[in-house]
């Protein structure tokens, strides 16, 4: 079954075409890399799937439904910035996720918070930026969602944190779910991917199975990406 489908999806910002007739179909049980340089439209696509932006033209559906409060119940979204209220602590945030998302498992959240020695009573404002990012990831991955939208989860973190983040994603996503990871750091994620999408100037120029792409090109996805996007 298709988790995310885009048909002729467009998004304009004035005269700038952030997304230009994107056709895309993601099936369940896959980890998909949304790969492209900064400004290629990755975040725009993810925001439209989470209904933070409304398409200029075309259609986007999640499990057959146009984004709405219904799809939000099955989509777990990790934005590309810290969005958790800084005046709250982890206990309050876990309670809040529990209150709003029926697929949230607080036991898993506490297990992960505990393994990082994060004090659930400490307000976020007193945490380092990196810790806050991890809390946000833990909350996102503690849901049993149908679609995970992870916008730049590993941008600007050190290698140890990057490993932690990727492992958290692998060990927590629901196996019937689709995970869409947007990033411009291809080398770091390519071993994790089932499929790779190359996004260039708002258009999809490639969407292939990761193993097949490697076998066909005889290169790592990172190498091939550099070749395609060479300026």
């Amino acid at each position: 079954m298709e988790t995310l489908v885009c048909e002729g999806l467009c998004k304009d910002y004035g005269s700038i075409k952030a997304l230009n007739h994107v056709d895309l179909s993601l099936s369940e049980g896959k980890i998909v890399g949304l790969l492209g340089p900064n400004g290629s439209g990755k975040t725009t696509l993810i925001k439209m799937a989470s209904r933070l932006l409304v398409p200029s033209a075309g259609k986007i559906t999640i499990c057959g439904e146009v984004p709405s409060e219904k799809t939000k119940a099955i989509v777990s979204y990790l934005p590309d910035r810290n969005v958790l209220p800084e005046y709250m602590n982890c206990d309050e945030l876990v309670q809040m996720y529990q209150d709003f998302f029926s697929d949230f498992e607080s036991g898993r959240a506490y297990e992960m918070l505990g393994s990082l020695d994060i004090d659930p009573k400490m307000p976020l404002r007193k945490m380092s930026k990196g810790t806050r990012e991890k809390v946000q990831l833990i909350l996102t991955m503690s849901r049993r969602a149908k679609l995970y939208l992870l916008d730049e989860p590993i941008a600007g973190v050190d290698p140890a944190a990057r490993d932690y983040i990727l492992r958290t994603i692998i060990s927590n996503y629901d196996e019937n779910a689709t995970v869409l990871i947007s990033t411009h750091l291809i080398a770091d994620v390519e071993n994790v991917l089932d499929e790779a999408i190359f996004l260039k100037e708002g258009r999809i120029i490639l969407h292939e199975n990761a193993d097949e792409l490697k076998e066909k090109t005889g290169k790592s996805i990172d190498e091939y990406f550099r070749e395609v996007f060479a300026c």
């Binding site: 990727l166 060990s171 071993n191 190498e223």
Partner: protein, 119 residues
């Protein structure tokens, strides 16, 4: 155990290779349980489907048996283990020859060098 992968070989093949080496070296004995797909994927930092593919291939080659409920077990007799050892060693020798030929040695020189080799 650290997992490091080469860029130019599909990862599932590298996982298969690694498990075969573990079987031949005795790290996995016949009847030992393999880790769960998700656990191995997390440990190695790779996609669970990749691990799944590697396990299926190992099953197809008859080195691993899966019990529907309890997981996957190594299943190998001594004869088959010898065969596997031979296969893996052939790969090493082939690679050794390729490398040494690259250094300009002919096959006779290589054999002599290996014969005289003391660690």
């Amino acid at each position: 155990m650290e997992w490091k992968f080469l860029d130019d070989i599909p990862i599932y093949l590298q996982i298969i290779e690694r498990i075969k080496v573990d079987i031949v070296s005795g790290r996995y004995a016949s009847g030992d349980k393999l880790p769960a797909v998700r656990d191995l994927a997390t440990e190695a930092g790779v996609n669970p489907n990749t691990v799944q593919r590697a396990f299926q291939e190992l099953e197809r080659q008859g080195l691993v048996q899966s019990e529907r409920t309890s997981g996957r077990y190594v299943s190998i007799d001594d004869e088959k283990k010898k065969e596997l050892q031979r296969d893996l060693s052939q790969d090493c020798i082939r690679k050794l020859f390729e490398d040494l030929r690259n250094l300009g040695m002919d096959d006779q020189m290589i054999k002599d060098a290996v014969g005289k080799w003391e660690e």
